[in-house]
Amino acid sequence: MEVIRIENLVKRYGSFEALRGISFKVSRGELHGFLGPNGAGKTTTIKILVGLLRADGGKAYLYGEEVSPKNYVIREKVGYMPELPKFPPWLTAHELLDMYGRMYGMRRGEREERIAEVLEFVGLKEHASRRISAYSKGMQQRLGMAQALLHNPDLLILDEPTAGMDPEGMHAIREMLKRLAEVGKTIFLSSHLLFEVQQICDHVTIINYGRILFSGELKKLIEKLQSKLVVRVEVKDLDANIVRAVEALKGVERVEVISSNTMKVVFEDRADRRDEVSRAVYESGGLILGMKVEEPSLEEAYLALVRGERSG
């Protein structure tokens, strides 16, 4: 089931075209990373989805219903955490969540129960009665996560949830996301942290200059960009003879010696020739301790796409 569907979405700010007819979809249960450089159009897309911005063209759907600032009922199904959220500083966390809970139609008892649960989940239970004006940036981020989770939505839209946080706070948010993924939430996550996205997400959409560069399974993106086979070989007593023997193999583009017993063999194509490497090392008097095909990281795939777009 499609939870999010974006069709030819266009958004202009004056003469600047922030979104140039983007399309992609997110299915139920996906942990979907939304990546792109600053100003690529990530926050604009998210704000259209949650009814904060109006699209100039195309359509966006949540659970099959077209979104717009006026269609407010559909937002009951979404938990949204804005980038660097700011909440009314004159309220306490409890007052804020109680007010939001009423907007989701939650009864008093249910609200009290959920407020305690989500504040416990984000580690703010002790600060529930403090005014938000006294909260640090990290605490406001946590509160942002708490208010997104309050009504226990199936879909979470998180815009840079770790932006501006210290390493401890980032770790805490990452752990929360992992726990949410475990309970089957659909998470649509905009982030700059590629390592984080690679750890958590199974699907990604990459956007740049308001255009979609890729949208689909993360492993397909990596496969698509992996045009050359790269094998990391660990050899006992690695020497120049062994390196030369491997370099002489047909289809080997280059060999990089990484350490005293490790070399990286880059082939000209994706054909698996590990048996030939094994034979060449053995015949040169070497002993293989380990061999592993290297997968490119999301970072490499992302950079290849974004740089390709810039140069293209």
């Binding site: 704000k47 009922v73 559909i74 804005p82 500083p89 004159w90 989701y104």
Partner: protein, 304 residues
């Protein structure tokens, strides 16, 4: 009416009232509105004790104290009713701009609420605060007058005067709220409202002068006073075209229409068509301001 519509409006009204209270607006409005009257009451009491005679007397002393009817004794009264536009401005000046500046609209408007509900909530909160303030002011003044000048009469006027004061000030609040939404900067909204209030006063004075001047040429004549009275009467109709003037004159016109009291020694005759037109124009202006606020807010892109 969507699901939770009334509940949402109630929640948003309480939210706005809490904002006004926590940002000290309630306290400032009450202090600014009630303190001058309290001071006037203290001064009158002290002066009466010093002179040993009653300054504040009569069955309609409460009207005198409110500054509705000017006469002996009102020299002590600094009536806040003359500054109602300032209270209206104070309540509403950051209603929208404050939330754009923090910016707290991003999480709020991503919730399942309609934007018109937010706008209506803000109007209702301003109405509640003004209603409470004027109720307190009237009660306080009547109680003091009762103690100082004996049993008070014409109290049947109070609900109508309370409503007129409320609608008049709410109009200024909503005009300020509109600038707060359009300009998105609190200081700019305050300066603009003040400038328009000032410009309105100047324009009305200039029109009055232009209308009266022809009748003053050629020196005093027997019918000059009658002509000036006629022009003044016309002017009271013309000024209803300006929202500021319509809101500001609503309380006094309502008072003049219903009360038999004189002001500055003369009756300001207020015919039914004038008071009807005044109320109608105020209600239309209120509806128009609310409609523009809702229309504009629903089309606003919440960028930050």
């Amino acid at each position: 009416m969507g699901r939770y519509t009334l509940d949402n409006i109630l929640v948003l009204t309480v939210y706005e009232l809490k904002r006004l209270y926590r940002k000290m607006r309630v306290q400032v409005v009450l202090a600014l509105g009630l303190l001058p009257t309290i001071i006037a009451m203290v001064v009158i009491s002290a002066y009466e004790a010093y002179l040993g005679e009653d300054i504040l007397s009569g069955e309609t002393a409460w009207q005198l104290l409110l500054g509705l009817n000017t006469g002996p004794g009102t020299m002590f009264v600094i009536s806040i009713l003359n500054f109602s536009w300032l209270l209206g401005l104070l309540i509403a000046v950051d209603a929208f701009s404050g939330e754009f500046e923090v910016p707290t609209f991003v999480p709020l408007l991503s919730k399942p609420i309609a934007r018109y509900q937010v706008a209506v909530g803000k109007t209702l909160a301003a109405s509640c605060l003004l209603a409470a303030y004027y109720a307190l002011l009237f009660l306080m003044v009547i109680a003091f007058s009762w103690v100082a000048a004996g049993p008070q009469a014409e109290l049947w006027l109070v609900p109508m005067l309370w409503l007129a004061a409320l609608v008049g000030t709410l109009g200024i609040s909503m005009l300020t709220m509109l600038f707060s939404l359009l300009l998105k900067k609190t200081t700019l909204a305050a300066v603009t409202t003040f400038a328009i209030w000032l410009a309105n006063g100047i324009v009305i004075s200039m029109i009055a002068f232009a209308l009266i001047l022809p009748h003053m040429q050629g020196g005093p004549s027997p019918d000059m006073q009658a002509k000036i009275a006629e022009v003044t009467k016309q002017l009271r109709y013309y000024e209803l075209a300006s929202p500021f003037s319509a809101f500001e004159s609503l309380l006094s016109n309502t008072y003049y229409f219903f009360s038999n009291q004189s002001t500055l020694g003369m009756m300001l005759e207020t015919p039914f068509d004038l008071i009807a037109l005044n109320w109608l124009s105020c209600l239309l202006w209120l509806a128009l301001f609310q409609a523009i606020i809702v229309y504009k807010f629903e089309r606003e892109d919440i960028k930050v």
